[in-house]
Structures are given as structure tokens and as C-alpha cells.
């Protein structure tokens, strides 16, 4: 049987189908990824070591751009904003998403409708979200005006024009957009939990809150990880949301590294500095994600 198959004329053809065809099909994608990601990462890295200003120059200039970047107050302000925004955005989105998912998991009516409603913001682009929230939060147009019109004249809600609070409006808009998606992730995870596990815990005498906190939510660990990764990368690359909502202002109150990078690289003719800041963003993202991925992979290998 095996001998006849080895000698068969179909051998090379089936080998083509089994081995080469998948590679052939995947090749354009792989190539596009290689060029799109790694070639441009490399190019950016190279530019960050040059004195490029308006146009790329390729002479090696050492660490001058990094030295300048680390001496730049606006950069550190942007990094600090990213810390505040990213931390709060991820924390609140996770908490809210999980809470909504747990509530939605209680076999309530209209679940389908509610789920879709929560998911809708995700369908909007960040530009739309940013613009909409700009209006909602504008003291002269949105919530504050509404409160005043209804007679609550004492209400002030001017965070968007207050340099100390503007960053929190970005958090609000970001959370509004993303928590529905996080909820969907958690809901899928909750639905994957075997019903009889809950029954077993009931027999063991656990109350519903205990069942959630000690069994179900801990077993959603992989979902937490995926949600965290997705939210973290949304936070780091946040650009359009802030541009539409506050434009980085008032002043530099909502400046983020991505805005810093864009403005220096493309509008201020400081390509080298922009490239250096882009590299720093990449390192920041890696510093957050790598240990997580590593520990998770190790856990899996240990079984």
C-alpha cells in the first residue's frame, strides 16, 4: 500500500498541494507583513540615528536625537499623559466590560438587543467618537448647557477645557468606545464556562458572588490577557481620538507620544526626533507586552 503510493505519478502533484500551495497562498501576506512592519521599523530605527529634519538623511549621527528627546519637557509630559490615560482607560474598560458581561450573563431578556447596543460604539471610528464627545463635553453645547437649560445652573462640567482634567475626558471617550467590545470578549468567555461547574459550586455551598469571584472570573484569565493586550495597544497608538476630541490641548494637557511623534515627524520638520520618539513608543509597548506574553507562554509550557 505504502510502496505503491510512493511510486505513484500523483506524488509530486499531491506534494505540491500539501506542502507548497499553502506557502504560496500565504506568501503575499507574509511579504506584505515583512515589508509593512519590519522594513519600516528598521527604516525608522535608522532615521532615529540621523540628523534628518524635513527630509530623510542617512548619515550616522549617533544618539543625538535620543539625547534631545530625553531633554524635551513636552515629550515627558506626553509620556505622563499616556501613563494616566492608558492606565485609567485599561482599568475602567476592563472593570466596566466585565461588570456589564456578568450582568448580561444573568439570562436577562432583550440580551441580544442590549449586546448590540453596547457593541455599537466599536463600529464607529475614533474620529467620530472624538468629535461626538467634543460636542457632548463642550460646556457651551453639551452636558453643561443641558443641565443649565433644565435649571441646574450650579452645574459646571468643563473638564475638556480645564488643563488639569482634560486628559480624563479622553479616558471617558475611550472607555465609551471600547468597553462594549471588552464586554463582548468577557461574555464569550463567561458563556464558555460549563454550566455544571456552577451547579457543582452551588452544591459546595457557594453563593453566586463567590462563584463569580473565586471560580468563574479567575478562569477567565486568558480573556483578561487578550483584553489587556488589545486595550494597551489601543492606548499606545491613540491618536485620532485625541486629535478629534482635544487636538492635544488645552496647551499640551492631552498631548500623547503619538501626537508628539506626528507633529515632529511630519509638520515640524524634525524627522529624526519623530523617529526617535516612535522608537521609544515601540519600546514602551514591548516593555508592557513582552513580560506578559512570556509569562503566559511559560505557564502554557508548564501545562
Amino acid at each position: 500500500m505504502t510502496a505503491s503510493r510512493q511510486g505513484a505519478p500523483g506524488f509530486s502533484l499531491s506534494r505540491l498541494a500539501d506542502v507548497i500551495l499553502p506557502k504560496l497562498v500565504l506568501a503575499p501576506t507574509v511579504l506584505a507583513c515583512l515589508v509593512g512592519f519590519y522594513v519600516f521599523i528598521g527604516w525608522t530605527a535608522w532615521l532615529s540615528f540621523t540628523e534628518s529634519r524635513m527630509l530623510p538623511r542617512y548619515e550616522w549621527a549617533g544618539l543625538v536625537q535620543y539625547v534631545e528627546l530625553f531633554g524635551n519637557d513636552r515629550w515627558w509630559g506626553a509620556m505622563q499623559n499616556l501613563g494616566v490615560f492608558g492606565g485609567l482607560f485599561i482599568l475602567v474598560s476592563l472593570t466596566l466590560g466585565l461588570l456589564m458581561a456578568v450582568l448580561l450573563d444573568q439570562k436577562i431578556r432583550f440580551e441580544g438587543a442590549i449586546r448590540t447596543l453596547y457593541l455599537y460604539p466599536m463600529a464607529l471610528s475614533f474620529i467620530v467618537t472624538g468629535t461626538a464627545w467634543k460636542w457632548i463635553l463642550n460646556p457651551g453645547l453639551g452636558l453643561e448647557k443641558l443641565a443649565h437649560d433644565w435649571g441646574f445652573t450650579g452645574v459646571t462640567f468643563d473638564w475638556i477645557i480645564n488643563p488639569d482634567f482634560a486628559i480624563y475626558t479622553v479616558v471617558i471617550a475611550g472607555v465609551w468606545q471600547s468597553s462594549g467590545f471588552v464586554m463582548a470578549l468577557f461574555l464569550a468567555g463567561l458563556r464558555g464556562v460549563d454550566d455544571s461547574i456552577i451547579k457543582a459550586a452551588q452544591m459546595d455551598g457557594a453563593s453566586l458572588p463567590t462563584i463569580y469571584t473565586r471560580i468563574i472570573i479567575p478562569s477567565l484569565r486568558p480573556v483578561f490577557l487578550s483584553a489587556f493586550m488589545i486595550l494597551a495597544h489601543i492606548a499606545v497608538k491613540s491618536f485620532d481620538l485625541v486629535m478629534a476630541l482635544t487636538g492635544g490641548g488645552p496647551g499640551f494637557a492631552t498631548d500623547l507620544p503619538s501626537i508628539f511623534m506626528y507633529q515632529h515627524g511630519f509638520t515640524r520638520g524634525q524627522l529624526g526626533l519623530g523617529a526617535a520618539s516612535a522608537m521609544m513608543m515601540l519600546f514602551t509597548a514591548c516593555a508592557v507586552v513582552m513580560p506578559l506574553l512570556y509569562s503566559e507562554l511559560r505557564r502554557e509550557r508548564r501545562g
Partner: protein, 370 residues
């Protein structure tokens, strides 16, 4: 007062009546089997005993407490699920300890219980693993360990072995039996496997379509099934059902079997009153394959064995004996013969029938004519 009493318990989901009045009662330390085909309501009944489903009407009592209104945790029962339902995020040790922890058992005592249970089930080396890292049989043991740790007055098992391979199932089956003999705790055990039912049970309730068709000891159910359904469900290979016309001769029930060449008269046990009503009518003769065998294998000390001629259609060797299919009254009938006496397809063989074991059923009501 029994350890578990189920009195006229009904369950409906809206207009669909799943359980139609179940009555069961077992004594302390008995092993009750609920057996029946898929969808007959076994799990529903078990969940109602556990308190995971509420009862539409009727009464369930554990010991002398009516538990209808009690929540699962107050019923002093433990359950082993078909899918094991281990907590995936906890180690085996924590899985076993969880129920104790919730009940605020002090830590040192917990340790003692875990050690005892682990020793009983031989899972000491697995205590620090997560469920993911266990084989099916090991998960099964842990699930039992979790139930044992609680030391309840009643154990519930919902098809605990159905996810295991055949060999492991036989092993675990005898382990569960041993465990029951050692602990003496009352057990309710759901299965759809009639061999499991026969080997494990002290009492078997054969269920179908939300009703208990028969409730009794394994031997009662095997020897004197209440109806055609129970007779066919219990026993493997299953009982032969041959349509016959019933006659009476000298106070004995007599039927005729046609093997295709000749009609042979078979003299059964003395006729009973309920059977006498069917004289001259069609009834169903029920014979288990092992009661239809070759003369050599038949227990010759019992007189009155009836000899039958038949033509072999198929032979199926099982090792210790060979199943021989013959035809009586146009119906394929299986006989269990010694391999040497099995004959070959097309051959004539001589079979003996133990008439005291043959059963008669009413084809309309399907009830056995006692």
C-alpha cells in the same frame, strides 16, 4: 422512614411534562440506579433531588426532612457530574477543599480530610495539578474526591463513567462499588448503561418518558420484568420476543414455534389466571438468549427441558460462547450456545429451552402476564 423518599414528583417546563409522577423510596446505605434511554428525565430527577431544579409538584424527603424548599447547600448531599465540573482555575487540592472552605472547616481539619480522601482514591500525587493536566480517569477520581470530602448523607452521580473508555469504565465501576461497600453511604446513580445498572445497583428504577416502568432489585428486574420495554432494555444481548398463540394443555401454558420446516409444541409452566384469559389469543413469548441453548450446556439436572430443532442463520462467537441466530415464527431469535455446539449457517441444531424462565406478555398493554 427511608433515606430518600420521592413521592409523586412531577416536573413540567411550561406545557411539556417531563416527569409524570415518580414514586421511589430507598433505605439508608442502598445504591439506587436510575436507568433509561436518553431524554427520559433521569438528570432532571437527579437535579431535583440535588435542589438545582425546582419541583413542580410532589415531595422529596432526605432522611426525615422534606427538602422541597431547601437550597442545595442545606441538603447535605454531594454530586458527581458527567463532565466532572472541576474548577479549572484551582489545583486538585483546592478543588477538594473548596466546599470545606465555604463551610468554614478549619484549615488543619481540611488538610486531614484532603489527605484521607486522596489516599482513598489514590490521587495523592495529583494534588498540586490543575484539572487541565489530568487524564479523564484522574478527573473522574478528583470529582469523586470532592464529593467524598464533604461526607454527605447522600451521593448523587450523573452518568459519571460515560466519558471514559470501555476499559477504564469497567475499572472505575468496580471501584465505585468497593467505595460504596466501604463507606455505606446512600447513593443515587444515573446511567443509561444497563450493565452498569445491573452490576452496581441494590435497587434499579427503569425509566422511560418520565415514568418509572419498574422499580426493584436487579434480579427481580432481570427475572420478572414488568413489561416488554423493561424486558428488552435490561440484558445483553436482549431478550427474544416471539409472537405466539397461547394454548392450554393439562393446566400448562403451551405455545407453538415454527422453525420453517415443522411446527413444534412447547410446554411452559403451569398456566396462571391472568394467562388463562389469553388462551386462544396472540401473546408475546419472551426468552433470554441464555435460556435457549444447546443440550450440552443446559443444566440437565432440571427436568422438563424442552428440545427444539432449528436452522442456523448466523453464528457470532463472543469467546466463551457463541450467539446462534435461528428463526422461530418468522422472528430472528438468538440462542447462546457452547462454541462446539454452535453449528454452521444452514445446519440443523438442537436447542433446549428452560420453560420455567420463559415469559409471556400481552402485546396490547405490553405488560407481563404474571
Amino acid at each position: 422512614m427511608g433515606a430518600l423518599s420521592i413521592r409523586n414528583v412531577k416536573k413540567s417546563f411550561g406545557n411539556t411534562h417531563i416527569l409524570k409522577g415518580i414514586d421511589l423510596e430507598i433505605e439508608k446505605g442502598q445504591f439506587l440506579i436510575l436507568v433509561g434511554p436518553s431524554g427520559c428525565g433521569k438528570s432532571t430527577l437527579l437535579n431535583m433531588i440535588a435542589g438545582l431544579d425546582d419541583i413542580t409538584s410532589g415531595e422529596i424527603a432526605i432522611g426525615d426532612r422534606v427538602v422541597n424548599k431547601l437550597s442545595p447547600k442545606d441538603r447535605d448531599i454531594a454530586m458527581v457530574f458527567q463532565s466532572y465540573a472541576l474548577y479549572p482555575n484551582m489545583t486538585v487540592r483546592k478543588n477538594i477543599a473548596f466546599g470545606l472552605d465555604i463551610r468554614k472547616v478549619p484549615k488543619p481539619e481540611q488538610e486531614e480530610i484532603i489527605a484521607r480522601v486522596a489516599k482513598t482514591l489514590q490521587i495523592e500525587h495529583l494534588l498540586d495539578r490543575k484539572p487541565m493536566q489530568l487524564s479523564g480517569g484522574q478527573r473522574q477520581r478528583v470529582a469523586m474526591g470532592r464529593a467524598l470530602a464533604r461526607n454527605p448523607t447522600l451521593f448523587l452521580f450523573d452518568e459519571p463513567l460515560s466519558n471514559l473508555d470501555a476499559k477504564l469504565r469497567v475499572e472505575m465501576r468496580s471501584e465505585i462499588k468497593l467505595l460504596h461497600q466501604r463507606l455505606g453511604t446512600t447513593i443515587v446513580y444515573v446511567t443509561h448503561d444497563q450493565i452498569e445498572a445491573m452490576t452496581l445497583g441494590d435497587r434499579i428504577a427503569v425509566m422511560k418518558d418520565g415514568e418509572v416502568r419498574q422499580f426493584g432489585s436487579p434480579q427481580q428486574i432481570y427475572d420478572a420484568p414488568a413489561d416488554l420495554y423493561v424486558a428488552g432494555f435490561i440484558g445483553s444481548p436482549s431478550m427474544n420476543f416471539i409472537p405466539v398463540q397461547l394454548h392450554e394443555e393439562d393446566g400448562h401454558a403451551v405455545v407453538e414455534l415454527d422453525n420453517g420446516r415443522a411446527v413444534q409444541k412447547v410446554r411452559l409452566s403451569p398456566i396462571s389466571d391472568s394467562q388463562r384469559d389469553f388462551v386462544g389469543k396472540q401473546v408475546v413469548l419472551g426468552i433470554r438468549p441464555e435460556q435457549l441453548t444447546d443440550p450440552e450446556s443446559a443444566h440437565s439436572e432440571r427436568g422438563n427441558l424442552q428440545t427444539l430443532q432449528a436452522t442456523v442463520a448466523i453464528t457470532e462467537p463472543t469467546g466463551p460462547d457463541t450467539l446462534v441466530t435461528v428463526t422461530f415464527n418468522g422472528i430472528k431469535t438468538v440462542a447462546r450456545c457452547h462454541p462446539r455446539a454452535a453449528g454452521a449457517p444452514g445446519q440443523q441444531v438442537e436447542l433446549t429451552l428452560d420453560p420455567t424462565k420463559a415469559l409471556l406478555f400481552d402485546p396490547a398493554s405490553e405488560k407481563r402476564l404474571a
